[in-house]
C-alpha cells in the first residue's frame, strides 16, 4: 500500500491519527464536519488507520499472524533433542553389528568352509556344463586310480630296453654256467 499524501505537506496527519485512535485530545465531531468537505483529510484518516494497524502489528502480532507459527512450534518437543540423537546412534550401531555378522558368516561358512551340500551342487553344475562326467568319474574313482597305477608300472617295465633285459638274462645264465 502506498501513501500518496506526504506528512510534511499534510500537517493534519496527526489529527487524522488522533481521529483514527479516537483520542479524546481531538474534537471528534468538529473533525468529522471538516472531513465532509475535504476528501484529502478523509484519505489521511484512512492512511492513519493503516499506519496504526501496522504499528499495532509491530508491537504485538495479531493472533491470526501468530497462528502461522505457534501451532507448529507447540507441537515440537520442548525437551532436549539429545535423546533422539542417541536413538539414531543406537540404530546405526546395531546395523553395523548385523552387517559385520552377515559379512563374516558369508565368507567363513560359504567360501572358506563350504558345506558338503554346496560341493555336491557345484559338482552337479560342473558336470552339466562340461558333459564329460564319464571320463571324470573314471579318472577320479579309486578303481581307476589303481588301474592307472598298475598300467603305469607295466609301462615302466616296458621302458627297460629289450637288449638290457636279454643281456641281463645272458649274464645270469653265463654266471650260472661258470
Amino acid at each position: 500500500m502506498t501513501y500518496d499524501d506526504n506528512f510534511e505537506t499534510n500537517p493534519r496527519f496527526l489529527e487524522a491519527m488522533l481521529y483514527a485512535l479516537n483520542d479524546p485530545a481531538l474534537d471528534r465531531e468538529a473533525f468529522e464536519r471538516e472531513m465532509a468537505d475535504d476528501p484529502e483529510l478523509a484519505f489521511s484518516v484512512a492512511s492513519a488507520v493503516q499506519l496504526a494497524l501496522e504499528m499495532k502489528e509491530s508491537f504485538e502480532p495479531s493472533a491470526l499472524r501468530r497462528g502461522y507459527s505457534e501451532p507448529i512450534r507447540s507441537e515440537l518437543p520442548s525437551g532436549n533433542p539429545q535423546p533422539a540423537g542417541w536413538v539414531l546412534t543406537a540404530i546405526l550401531c546395531a546395523s553395523a553389528v548385523l552387517a559385520w555378522i552377515a559379512w563374516n558368516r558369508f565368507f567363513y561358512s560359504e567360501e572358506i568352509h563350504p558345506s558338503d551340500r554346496d560341493l555336491v551342487t557345484a559338482w552337479s553344475m560342473f558336470r552339466a556344463e562340461s558333459g564329460a562326467a564319464g571320463v571324470l568319474e573314471t579318472e577320479l574313482s579309486p578303481a581307476s586310480y589303481l588301474e592307472d597305477s598298475e598300467s603305469s608300472l607295466v609301462e615302466n617295465d616296458e621302458d627297460f630296453p629289450s637288449w638290457l633285459i636279454a643281456a641281463t638274462a645272458t649274464e645270469s645264465s653265463n654266471g650260472a654256467i661258470q
Binding site: M1, Y3, N6, F7, E8, F13, L14, M17, L18, Y19, A20, L21, N22, D23, P24, A25, E32, M35, A36, P39, E40, A42, F43, V45, A46, S47, A48, V49, Q50, L51, A52, L53, E54, M55, K56, E57, S58, F59, E60, S62, L64, R65
Partner: protein, 169 residues
C-alpha cells in the same frame, strides 16, 4: 432519486481493486465496526456503479470517499452506535485484510519495514508511541505518566509519525 448514470463494470472493478482497502479503513475510523464499515463501502461501490458514469476519472477517489462518509454517517445514525474506542479494535480489519494472500504479504512487508523504522526513533518518541499504540493510553494519560505537557506528548507523536511515514525526522 437522481437518474442513473451507470459506470462500466470494468471501471467499477478497477476502482474496487484500487480503493476498497483504504475506503474500509476510512469507514472503520468513523464506525469502529468492521462489518458496518464493509456495508458502507459496499453501498459506495453500488452507488459508483449506478451513478458515477459522468464522474471524471481524476475525481473518482474523492467521490468515493465522500460517498463512504455519507454512507457511514447514515449507518451510524441507523445503528445509534458509538462504541468505546480501543486501538485493539484497529486490528479487527486485519482479519478481512489477511483473507487476500497478496494483501497479507504486503502487510507483512510493511510491518517489517515499520519495525526497522521504529528502531531508529529517539527514545522519547518511541516511548510515547508505545504508550499510545501498545498500552492504549490516551495522550492525557501519557502526559500524566511522563510528567510532560500534553502538547509535548502530541509533538513527540507527530515527530514519530513523520519519521515512520516519510522516513525522516
Amino acid at each position: 432519486m437522481s437518474p442513473e448514470r451507470p459506470l462500466d463494470p470494468k471501471t467499477v472493478e478497477a476502482c474496487h481493486r484500487e480503493y476498497r482497502v483504504m475506503l474500509e479503513r476510512y469507514a472503520w475510523a468513523i464506525l469502529r465496526d468492521e462489518g458496518l464499515a464493509g456495508d458502507a463501502v459496499q453501498g459506495a461501490f453500488v452507488a459508483l456503479a449506478r451513478y458515477a458514469g459522468d464522474v471524471v476519472p481524476e475525481a473518482r477517489r474523492a467521490w468515493l470517499f465522500k460517498v463512504v462518509y455519507r454512507e457511514a454517517l447514515r449507518i451510524r445514525a441507523d445503528q445509534q452506535k458509538y462504541p468505546t474506542m480501543s486501538t485493539d479494535s484497529v486490528k479487527e480489519s486485519l482479519v478481512r485484510y489477511q483473507l487476500n494472500p497478496l494483501s497479507k504479504l504486503a502487510l507483512e512487508e510493511e510491518v517489517e519495514a515499520l519495525k526497522q523504522k521504529m528502531k531508529t526513533l529517539p527514545k522519547e518518541q518511541y516511548e510515547v508511541l508505545k504508550l499510545r499504540m501498545d498500552d492504549d493510553l490516551t495522550f492525557g494519560e501519557i502526559a500524566e505518566k511522563l510528567s510532560i505537557p500534553i502538547g509535548t506528548a502530541l509533538s513527540r507523536m507527530r515527530l514519530a509519525l513523520a519519521r515512520l511515514k516519510d522516513g525522516e525526522s
